[in-house]
């Protein structure tokens, strides 16, 4: 609070507001909000930490907010804007080195302690990323700064994350602003800051997965094409009931990228509700998790972190693109076989066969039956991927009934120990 300060203030304020106006596109009331910067005590008194932390310590928080978010929020929270000013003014360097720029340089904490911790979290930094440091520094803040800070480390539980995602998709990803998200979530133990950093993570995670998914979609599409060539269309041009044709392709070995069933179209192995901090289940483990009776694969994979079994969120985020991966297999098969008693009406069946006759295919005219390869493929499909849903979904017989019946026929062990046939 030197005598100089007011004068410095005014010039600086002008400069800063200019800077802000140009860099961030808004103007700030400089008078109240920019007192002597050199005196952090005052500064901190003025800055409204309420929405950041419950403790107003003598430490300026690491404010990681991406510029666009910041712009949105600063209109609401003018007080926090005071932290932006520092990059342009070197005088703040020792106290308040916040680097927030349109280029997204990383946030530099103002303290050596913080800097150390920031360095520690470098692994979480993605310098190529547009946004500043990841939300994990929030944890650093908690641990780094003196124990005065009573901020609770936010554990993004599946439930919490789900609400977060709901809120984000309600707002629209582009418009999802932490303060609104917080409102929508209605969670009181979350600060806007927590939400902001989580949002960052979420966005970058999505971008990453989008790229992977695009690549996988191309891959599965190619497989589908090849699959159709080899098994879907028989030599005599007979394609086994249009809706069955893709089925043999699914008999192919599981494609690499986290895909369980590879439906021909719109293959998502996105895991939108997966919280990246949590351990995941390797999808290749899934076959062993196959429970007794035919759940859809998504349920079979429902280990705690991977709790997405409801596909309803994802399509909304994606503006109606198709469903999440595991259940696509279910859905893919379900429609053709829905209401199967109607699906196999006598006239319909006969019609399927008629066109094949007289076409002079390599098969003899009397051979009505499916080709061995197709049958083999279908049966092999059941053997290799037992978790797939039943194609017809007939009501299963009681296990006891079957076993009793088998005992009557002299079969004591199911499955039989000795090979048969």
């Amino acid at each position: 609070m030197s005598a100089l300060s007011p004068a410095r203030n005014s010039t600086r304020d002008d400069g800063e507001s200019e800077f802000l106006a140009t860099s961030c596109g808004f103007t700030i009331n400089t008078e109240e909000d920019f007192p002597e910067f050199t005196d952090h005590g005052d500064l901190l008194d003025i800055i409204d930490f309420d929405d950041l932390f419950s403790v107003a310590g003598d430490v300026l928080p690491d404010l990681e907010m991406d510029p666009e978010v910041l712009a949105g929020e600063l209109s609401d929270h003018m007080n926090t804007s005071s932290t932006i000013t520092t990059t342009s003014t070197g005088s703040q360097g020792e106290t308040n080195k916040k680097g927030i720029s349109g280029k997204g340089e990383e946030v530099i904490s103002k303290r050596d302690l913080n800097e150390t911790l920031v360095a520690e979290t470098v692994v979480n930094y993605d310098r190529k990323r547009k946004h500043s440091s990841s939300g994990s520094t929030k944890n650093n803040r908690i641990s780094s700064n003196e124990g005065k800070r009573k901020v609770k480390k936010v554990d993004w539980t599946p439930e919490l994350h789900r609400r977060f995602v709901e809120a984000v998709e309600q707002l629209g990803l582009e418009k999802a602003v932490p303060s609104r998200i917080l409102e929508l979530m209605g969670v009181h133990c979350l600060t806007r800051h927590n939400v902001a950093s989580h949002l960052q993570k979420y966005r970058s995670h999505r971008k990453h997965l989008l790229a992977r998914e695009a690549e996988a979609a191309n891959w599965t599409r190619k497989r589908h094409i090849y699959g159709l060539d080899s098994t879907g269309a028989n030599a005599n041009g007979r394609n086994k009931n249009g809706w069955l044709a893709p089925a043999p392709t699914i008999g192919f070995p599981t494609p690499p990228p986290a895909a369980v069933a590879s439906p021909p179209v719109n293959h998502h192995h996105f895991r939108p509700l997966h919280v990246w901090g949590h351990p995941t289940v390797d999808p290749s483990v899934m076959p062993h998790v196959w429970p007794k009776h035919l759940p859809p694969p998504s349920t079979a994979m429902a280990t705690p972190p991977f709790w997405l079994s409801d596909t309803s969120y994802w399509p909304r985020i994606h503006n109606g693109t198709t469903t999440y991966l595991p259940t696509v297999a279910t859905r893919f098969r379900a429609p053709p076989v829905a209401g199967i008693p109607q699906a196999l009406p006598p006239h319909h069946m006969v019609h399927n066969y008629k066109p094949d006759h007289g076409f002079g295919g390599p098969r003899s005219p009397v051979d009505l039956h499916p080709s061995k390869e197709s049958v083999d493929a279908a049966i092999g499909d059941v053997l290799t991927r037992p978790w797939l849903p039943l194609p017809l979904g007939l009501k299963p017989p009681t296990v006891d009934g079957v076993i009793t019946e088998l005992h009557r026929h002299g079969v004591s062990q199911v499955p039989p120990a000795a090979s048969c046939a």
């Binding site: 008693p341 006598p346 006759h357 007289g358 009397v366 049958v375 017989p397 079957v402 199911v414 048969c420």
Partner: protein, 95 residues
């Protein structure tokens, strides 16, 4: 554990039978296919088939009807009929 492995085995057999049903195979064909491609004991296949039939009477009834309708006109007859249609139409175009 024997119980659940039986159950899953039976489920698997049911799954395979359903695949055969999609191919409109008869019970005998199904038994043969499962035995050949998956080493399923014929008696198991036929037992599971019968039990499925009990649980899904309407479905199998329609299924059988379809099968019998196919048999009404034998494959040869159908083939001949179609050949006739083709030759008739080509005759027409000649004229």
């Amino acid at each position: 554990m024997a119980g659940s492995s039986s159950a899953s085995y039976i489920h698997m057999v049911q799954h395979m039978i359903e695949k055969c049903l999609i191919f409109h195979m008869s019970k005998e064909e199904c038994v043969e296919a499962l035995s050949k491609h998956a080493n399923i004991t014929p008696v198991i296949t036929s037992t599971v088939w019968k039990e499925l039939e009990k649980e899904n009477k309407e479905f199998f009834k329609a299924y059988e009807e379809r099968q019998s309708k196919q048999e009404q006109m034998s494959e040869e007859e159908t083939n001949q009929m179609i050949q006739k249609i083709i030759s008739d139409s080509s005759k027409d175009s000649d004229d």
